[in-house]
Protein backbone atom coordinates (compact mmCIF):
# COMPACT_ATOMS: atom_id res chain seq x y z
CA UNK A 1 0.00 0.00 0.00
CA UNK A 2 2.97 2.36 0.31
CA UNK A 3 4.12 1.90 -3.31
CA UNK A 4 4.63 5.28 -5.00
CA UNK A 5 2.80 5.84 -8.28
CA UNK A 6 3.96 8.42 -10.83
CA UNK A 7 1.74 9.40 -13.77
CA UNK A 8 3.02 11.47 -16.70
CA UNK A 9 0.71 11.35 -19.71
CA UNK A 10 2.17 11.92 -23.20
CA UNK A 11 1.78 15.54 -24.30
CA UNK A 12 0.61 16.80 -20.90
CA UNK A 13 2.96 19.16 -18.97
CA UNK A 14 2.08 17.58 -15.64
CA UNK A 15 3.31 14.89 -13.24
CA UNK A 16 0.93 13.32 -10.73
CA UNK A 17 2.39 11.31 -7.86
CA UNK A 18 0.63 9.45 -5.07
CA UNK A 19 2.23 7.78 -2.07
CA UNK A 20 0.64 6.45 1.09
CA UNK A 21 2.29 7.33 4.39
CA UNK A 22 1.44 5.56 7.66
CA UNK A 23 0.62 8.64 9.71
CA UNK A 24 -2.27 11.08 10.13
CA UNK A 25 -2.46 14.03 7.72
CA UNK A 26 -1.66 16.58 10.43
CA UNK A 27 1.65 14.85 11.13
CA UNK A 28 2.54 14.47 7.45
CA UNK A 29 1.78 18.17 6.97
CA UNK A 30 4.19 18.99 9.79
CA UNK A 31 6.90 16.89 8.13
CA UNK A 32 6.35 18.90 4.92
CA UNK A 33 6.41 22.31 6.58
CA UNK A 34 8.67 22.25 9.66
CA UNK A 35 12.24 22.85 8.49
CA UNK A 36 13.82 20.68 11.22
CA UNK A 37 11.69 17.73 10.04
CA UNK A 38 11.88 18.45 6.30
CA UNK A 39 15.69 18.34 6.17
CA UNK A 40 15.58 14.80 7.58
CA UNK A 41 13.69 13.29 4.68
CA UNK A 42 13.26 15.37 1.48
CA UNK A 43 15.32 14.24 -1.51
CA UNK A 44 17.67 11.38 -2.33
CA UNK A 45 19.62 9.67 0.44
CA UNK A 46 23.03 10.69 -0.94
CA UNK A 47 22.25 14.42 -0.63
CA UNK A 48 22.28 16.61 2.48
CA UNK A 49 19.64 19.31 2.73
CA UNK A 50 20.12 22.79 4.15
CA UNK A 51 17.27 25.26 4.39
CA UNK A 52 18.11 28.86 3.60
CA UNK A 53 14.58 30.23 4.14
CA UNK A 54 11.17 28.62 4.60
CA UNK A 55 8.37 31.06 5.29
CA UNK A 56 5.23 28.89 5.29
CA UNK A 57 2.44 31.38 4.52
CA UNK A 58 0.57 32.71 1.51
CA UNK A 59 3.22 34.76 -0.32
CA UNK A 60 6.11 33.45 1.78
CA UNK A 61 9.31 32.39 0.03
CA UNK A 62 11.42 29.30 0.50
CA UNK A 63 14.91 28.21 -0.58
CA UNK A 64 16.96 25.12 0.15
CA UNK A 65 20.18 23.52 -1.00
CA UNK A 66 20.91 19.88 -1.60
CA UNK A 67 24.64 19.04 -1.40
CA UNK A 68 26.51 15.86 -2.24
CA UNK A 69 29.67 14.45 -0.62
CA UNK A 70 31.89 16.15 -3.21
CA UNK A 71 30.56 19.57 -2.26
CA UNK A 72 28.35 20.03 -5.31
CA UNK A 73 25.36 22.16 -4.38
CA UNK A 74 21.93 22.28 -5.99
CA UNK A 75 19.75 25.23 -5.04
CA UNK A 76 15.95 25.40 -5.30
CA UNK A 77 13.55 28.19 -4.46
CA UNK A 78 9.95 29.26 -4.81
CA UNK A 79 6.96 31.02 -3.32
CA UNK A 80 4.08 29.58 -1.28
CA UNK A 81 0.68 30.48 -2.72
CA UNK A 82 -2.63 30.22 -0.88
CA UNK A 83 -2.45 29.74 2.93
CA UNK A 84 -0.73 26.37 3.53
CA UNK A 85 -2.72 23.94 5.68
CA UNK A 86 -3.10 20.19 6.29
CA UNK A 87 -5.57 20.30 3.38
CA UNK A 88 -2.85 21.33 0.98
CA UNK A 89 0.27 23.24 0.05
CA UNK A 90 0.64 25.20 -3.20
CA UNK A 91 4.05 26.52 -4.15
CA UNK A 92 6.15 27.45 -7.14
CA UNK A 93 9.42 25.60 -7.65
CA UNK A 94 12.57 26.65 -9.51
CA UNK A 95 15.80 24.68 -9.84
CA UNK A 96 18.60 27.24 -9.86
CA UNK A 97 20.62 25.06 -12.24
CA UNK A 98 17.92 25.52 -14.88
CA UNK A 99 17.06 29.21 -14.57
CA UNK A 100 14.02 30.73 -16.23
CA UNK A 101 11.87 27.64 -15.79
CA UNK A 102 9.15 27.49 -13.17
CA UNK A 103 6.80 24.74 -12.06
CA UNK A 104 3.66 24.96 -9.93
CA UNK A 105 3.36 22.25 -7.26
CA UNK A 106 0.30 21.27 -5.25
CA UNK A 107 0.49 18.75 -2.40
CA UNK A 108 -2.73 17.47 -0.84
CA UNK A 109 -3.10 15.11 2.10
CA UNK A 110 -5.97 12.64 2.05
CA UNK A 111 -6.39 10.88 5.38
CA UNK A 112 -7.79 7.35 5.14
CA UNK A 113 -8.13 5.23 8.30
CA UNK A 114 -5.31 7.02 10.09
CA UNK A 115 -2.93 6.81 7.13
CA UNK A 116 -2.44 9.58 4.58
CA UNK A 117 -2.36 9.43 0.81
CA UNK A 118 -0.07 12.23 -0.33
CA UNK A 119 -1.00 13.58 -3.77
CA UNK A 120 1.67 15.63 -5.54
CA UNK A 121 0.63 17.57 -8.64
CA UNK A 122 3.35 19.37 -10.61
CA UNK A 123 2.52 21.42 -13.69
CA UNK A 124 5.22 22.74 -15.98
CA UNK A 125 5.48 25.49 -18.59
CA UNK A 126 6.02 22.85 -21.29
CA UNK A 127 6.15 19.11 -21.88
CA UNK A 128 9.91 19.55 -22.49
CA UNK A 129 10.34 20.93 -18.97
CA UNK A 130 8.24 18.08 -17.61
CA UNK A 131 10.36 15.51 -19.44
CA UNK A 132 13.54 17.18 -18.18
CA UNK A 133 12.28 16.77 -14.62
CA UNK A 134 11.47 13.09 -15.21
CA UNK A 135 14.94 12.51 -16.69
CA UNK A 136 16.66 14.27 -13.78
CA UNK A 137 16.10 11.27 -11.52
CA UNK A 138 13.08 12.85 -9.87
CA UNK A 139 11.34 9.53 -9.27
CA UNK A 140 14.33 7.97 -7.48
CA UNK A 141 14.76 11.08 -5.36
CA UNK A 142 11.08 11.19 -4.43
CA UNK A 143 11.00 7.51 -3.66
CA UNK A 144 14.05 7.66 -1.40
CA UNK A 145 12.61 10.78 0.19
CA UNK A 146 9.37 9.02 1.05
CA UNK A 147 11.33 6.09 2.49
CA UNK A 148 13.19 8.52 4.72
CA UNK A 149 9.83 10.08 5.65
CA UNK A 150 8.56 6.62 6.68
CA UNK A 151 11.66 6.21 8.86
CA UNK A 152 11.22 9.67 10.40
CA UNK A 153 7.54 9.12 11.17
CA UNK A 154 8.33 5.76 12.77
CA UNK A 155 10.53 7.49 15.37
CA UNK A 156 8.59 8.24 18.58
CA UNK A 157 9.93 11.81 18.75
CA UNK A 158 8.39 12.78 15.43
CA UNK A 159 4.88 12.13 16.67
CA UNK A 160 5.15 14.30 19.79
Amino acid sequence: MTQMKVTAEPGVPQILTTREVEAPAELVYRAFTQPELLVQWLGPRRLTMTIDRFDVRDGGTWRYIHADEDGNEYGFHGVFHVEPSPQGIVQTFEFEGYPGHVQLDTATFEEVDGATVVHLNSVFQSVEDRDGMLQSGMETGLNEGFEQLDELLAKPVASD
Copy 2:
Protein backbone atom coordinates in the same frame (compact mmCIF):
# COMPACT_ATOMS: atom_id res chain seq x y z
CA MET B 1 -2.50 38.58 -39.37
CA THR B 2 -3.74 40.02 -36.08
CA GLN B 3 -6.34 37.28 -35.50
CA MET B 4 -5.99 35.79 -32.03
CA LYS B 5 -5.60 32.02 -31.78
CA VAL B 6 -6.48 30.08 -28.62
CA THR B 7 -5.48 26.43 -28.23
CA ALA B 8 -6.82 24.23 -25.42
CA GLU B 9 -6.24 20.53 -26.04
CA PRO B 10 -8.59 18.00 -24.42
CA GLY B 11 -7.17 16.64 -21.17
CA VAL B 12 -4.30 19.13 -21.00
CA PRO B 13 -4.40 21.74 -18.19
CA GLN B 14 -3.00 24.45 -20.46
CA ILE B 15 -4.18 27.29 -22.72
CA LEU B 16 -1.89 28.60 -25.46
CA THR B 17 -2.77 31.92 -27.11
CA THR B 18 -1.00 33.77 -29.91
CA ARG B 19 -1.78 37.26 -31.18
CA GLU B 20 0.23 39.49 -33.49
CA VAL B 21 0.64 43.13 -32.49
CA GLU B 22 1.90 45.81 -34.91
CA ALA B 23 4.72 47.13 -32.76
CA PRO B 24 8.27 46.14 -31.80
CA ALA B 25 8.70 43.73 -28.88
CA GLU B 26 10.27 46.38 -26.64
CA LEU B 27 7.15 48.54 -26.94
CA VAL B 28 4.76 45.63 -26.40
CA TYR B 29 6.76 44.68 -23.30
CA ARG B 30 6.33 48.22 -21.98
CA ALA B 31 2.56 47.98 -22.53
CA PHE B 32 2.56 44.77 -20.48
CA THR B 33 4.66 46.10 -17.61
CA GLN B 34 4.08 49.84 -17.18
CA PRO B 35 0.97 50.31 -15.01
CA GLU B 36 -0.10 53.55 -16.72
CA LEU B 37 -0.14 51.72 -20.08
CA LEU B 38 -1.51 48.40 -18.82
CA VAL B 39 -4.68 49.94 -17.35
CA GLN B 40 -5.52 51.35 -20.77
CA TRP B 41 -5.86 47.99 -22.49
CA LEU B 42 -5.94 44.82 -20.34
CA GLY B 43 -9.29 43.07 -20.07
CA PRO B 44 -12.75 43.48 -21.58
CA ARG B 45 -13.91 46.94 -22.72
CA ARG B 46 -16.78 47.10 -20.20
CA LEU B 47 -14.43 46.85 -17.20
CA THR B 48 -12.24 49.55 -15.68
CA MET B 49 -8.87 48.48 -14.36
CA THR B 50 -7.18 49.80 -11.23
CA ILE B 51 -3.71 48.65 -10.20
CA ASP B 52 -3.16 48.11 -6.50
CA ARG B 53 0.48 47.00 -6.78
CA PHE B 54 2.72 46.03 -9.70
CA ASP B 55 6.32 45.32 -8.74
CA VAL B 56 7.90 44.08 -11.98
CA ARG B 57 10.90 42.07 -10.77
CA ASP B 58 11.75 38.47 -9.90
CA GLY B 59 9.74 37.85 -6.72
CA GLY B 60 7.72 41.06 -7.01
CA THR B 61 3.98 40.91 -6.40
CA TRP B 62 1.14 42.41 -8.39
CA ARG B 63 -2.58 43.00 -7.78
CA TYR B 64 -5.25 44.70 -9.84
CA ILE B 65 -9.01 45.12 -9.79
CA HIS B 66 -11.41 45.10 -12.70
CA ALA B 67 -14.68 46.93 -11.96
CA ASP B 68 -17.90 47.16 -13.93
CA GLU B 69 -20.38 50.06 -14.16
CA ASP B 70 -22.51 48.58 -11.35
CA GLY B 71 -19.59 48.70 -8.93
CA ASN B 72 -18.86 44.97 -8.98
CA GLU B 73 -15.14 44.39 -8.44
CA TYR B 74 -13.00 41.45 -9.50
CA GLY B 75 -9.57 41.21 -7.87
CA PHE B 76 -6.56 39.35 -9.22
CA HIS B 77 -3.08 38.92 -7.81
CA GLY B 78 0.13 37.01 -8.28
CA VAL B 79 3.91 36.97 -8.11
CA PHE B 80 6.44 37.63 -10.88
CA HIS B 81 8.95 34.83 -11.26
CA VAL B 82 12.27 35.07 -13.12
CA GLU B 83 13.48 38.60 -14.00
CA PRO B 84 10.90 40.06 -16.43
CA SER B 85 12.34 41.27 -19.74
CA PRO B 86 11.27 41.86 -23.37
CA GLN B 87 12.11 38.18 -23.85
CA GLY B 88 9.40 37.11 -21.48
CA ILE B 89 7.32 37.52 -18.35
CA VAL B 90 6.53 34.64 -15.96
CA GLN B 91 3.97 35.19 -13.24
CA THR B 92 1.45 33.35 -11.11
CA PHE B 93 -2.18 34.41 -11.36
CA GLU B 94 -5.03 34.04 -8.87
CA PHE B 95 -8.61 35.24 -9.27
CA GLU B 96 -9.78 36.30 -5.83
CA GLY B 97 -13.31 35.12 -6.63
CA TYR B 98 -12.01 31.55 -6.93
CA PRO B 99 -9.61 31.28 -4.00
CA GLY B 100 -7.20 28.39 -3.64
CA HIS B 101 -6.61 28.02 -7.36
CA VAL B 102 -3.41 29.21 -8.98
CA GLN B 103 -2.26 29.36 -12.58
CA LEU B 104 1.23 29.91 -13.98
CA ASP B 105 1.41 32.33 -16.93
CA THR B 106 4.28 32.86 -19.35
CA ALA B 107 4.21 35.64 -21.95
CA THR B 108 6.88 35.73 -24.64
CA PHE B 109 7.38 38.34 -27.34
CA GLU B 110 8.60 37.18 -30.74
CA GLU B 111 9.55 40.10 -32.98
CA VAL B 112 9.07 39.44 -36.69
CA ASP B 113 9.71 42.28 -39.21
CA GLY B 114 8.95 45.00 -36.70
CA ALA B 115 5.73 43.38 -35.49
CA THR B 116 5.49 41.13 -32.42
CA VAL B 117 3.82 37.78 -31.98
CA VAL B 118 2.71 37.60 -28.37
CA HIS B 119 2.62 34.04 -27.03
CA LEU B 120 0.62 33.48 -23.84
CA ASN B 121 1.03 30.15 -22.06
CA SER B 122 -1.18 29.45 -19.05
CA VAL B 123 -0.90 26.20 -17.11
CA PHE B 124 -3.45 25.23 -14.47
CA GLN B 125 -3.54 22.87 -11.51
CA SER B 126 -6.21 20.81 -13.27
CA VAL B 127 -8.18 20.51 -16.50
CA GLU B 128 -11.26 21.56 -14.48
CA ASP B 129 -9.57 24.85 -13.57
CA ARG B 130 -8.55 25.33 -17.20
CA ASP B 131 -12.12 24.72 -18.39
CA GLY B 132 -13.43 27.13 -15.76
CA MET B 133 -11.14 29.82 -17.14
CA LEU B 134 -12.32 29.13 -20.72
CA GLN B 135 -15.97 29.32 -19.61
CA SER B 136 -15.40 32.60 -17.75
CA GLY B 137 -15.32 34.54 -21.01
CA MET B 138 -11.52 34.66 -21.06
CA GLU B 139 -11.31 34.61 -24.85
CA THR B 140 -13.64 37.60 -25.29
CA GLY B 141 -11.79 39.53 -22.60
CA LEU B 142 -8.40 38.77 -24.13
CA ASN B 143 -9.60 39.62 -27.62
CA GLU B 144 -11.05 42.97 -26.55
CA GLY B 145 -7.91 43.62 -24.56
CA PHE B 146 -5.69 43.08 -27.59
CA GLU B 147 -7.95 45.38 -29.64
CA GLN B 148 -7.49 48.06 -26.99
CA LEU B 149 -3.75 47.38 -27.10
CA ASP B 150 -3.78 47.93 -30.89
CA GLU B 151 -5.54 51.26 -30.31
CA LEU B 152 -3.09 52.28 -27.60
CA LEU B 153 -0.04 51.41 -29.69
CA ALA B 154 -1.47 53.36 -32.66
CA LYS B 155 -1.42 56.56 -30.55
CA PRO B 156 1.76 58.59 -31.13
CA VAL B 157 2.28 59.14 -27.38
CA ALA B 158 2.56 55.42 -26.64
CA SER B 159 5.65 55.08 -28.83
CA ASP B 160 7.60 57.93 -27.19
